[in-house]
Symmetry: C2
Subunit: 205 residues, 2 copies
């Protein structure tokens, strides 16, 4: 998995590009071979089957943003300190790989039964994460802020704008991709402000 020949890299690069765009079923092995500029049989030589090639691509995609999620859920640092760092990391990752959110969410939505295995493999421990959240002083149900809702809000604000890129670009930015992108960069400063506000709220629950 670590060592890859140049050819393997070319294959995965083309597979990523096409799977991200058209999905697994919508992409043929021939499509990938053409894009990589090689014979189709070669894909099977290196990756046995389409399933296994897809699996490699999917895992690689997961690996791009699960670590920062896992770090947030498990690190000893309090949310308050860690959140701004996490936001910057996630958004930068999204800017570099804007198609990953939909790709991953679509696959998980089709095959939700994959989640438990992925959680295990990626080293996420829901129970531990829950405990950590419960121990956060500023972030608790008693304070009027459910830690789960807090994380949902955080991820929503960071990830959704990329999943909805075409809609946002065409409706809110009249098709101007540059404007869209610069708005996304702006969000690196904007989201922490919002999050801080959410944390400081104290409704008369």
């Amino acid at each position: 998995m670590v060592l890859q020949t140049e050819t393997e890299e070319k294959i995965v690069a083309s597979a990523e590009k096409l799977f991200y765009q058209k999905g697994k079923a919508g992409t043929s092995m021939q499509d990938i071979a053409d894009d990589a500029g090689m014979n189709r049989t070669l894909l099977n030589y290196y990756y046995r089957s389409k399933d296994q090639l897809f699996e490699a691509v999917f895992r690689k995609a997961l690996g791009r943003f699960v670590p920062s999620l896992a770090a947030m859920l498990h690190s000893d640092i309090s949310f308050e300190e860690y959140v701004p760092v996490m936001i910057e990391t996630v958004i930068d990752t999204m800017i570099d790989n804007p198609q990953i959110p939909i790709f991953v969410l679509q696959e998980l939505s089709s095959n939700p039964q994959r989640m438990p295995e992925i959680i295990r493999e990626m080293g996420i421990n829901p129970a531990v994460a829950m405990k950590k959240m419960a121990s956060e002083g500023t972030l608790s149900v008693e304070q009027g802020i459910d830690p789960r809702q807090f994380i949902i809000n955080l991820l929503s604000l960071c990830i959704f704008p990329f999943a909805a890129r075409p809609v946002i670009t065409d409706i809110l930015f009249e098709g101007d991709n540059e404007a869209y992108l610069s708005a996304m960069k702006e969000r690196k400063k904007l989201i922490p402000q919002i999050v801080k506000q959410i944390m400081m709220q104290n409704p008369s629950k």
Copy 2:
């Protein structure tokens, strides 16, 4: 389009279910026919081709949530008044059709060139929407709140939690679907609070 035989309804119902779950390329006409309990040829009898059947399903999906979006962008009511209504509507729609966000976003991500036509057909006028936003007193760049960012935040908070359902359910709610669902209902009250806070902010820009 308005009048549909019982058979047509069965076809669309099965097509929706399967297209939502496995996508266009991942679903065969045979799959749909089996699910609907009829012969495959019958699908072609009513919907000429797979493309046209998919198109019918896609339009129907769009029609479920574009109207409330369009209403928000165009109505004479100010954001401040309209937003809570819109949130409730959107979330209720999502609860009833949890798979639509990913389905639509995936299709638009694969074929972003479809956006202009969709915008036109759905009666959305980006220029008018921009003008409306600019005229909002409490919501302007001068006040420190970019109306575009505001809408992005609003949609993110409402829609993303449904697109990410499996992830959220398994990591944050340890697989408990009921808990997930009740959290989503809770968001109908939660999001308006957050949005109100965002609107009242006044950073030292």
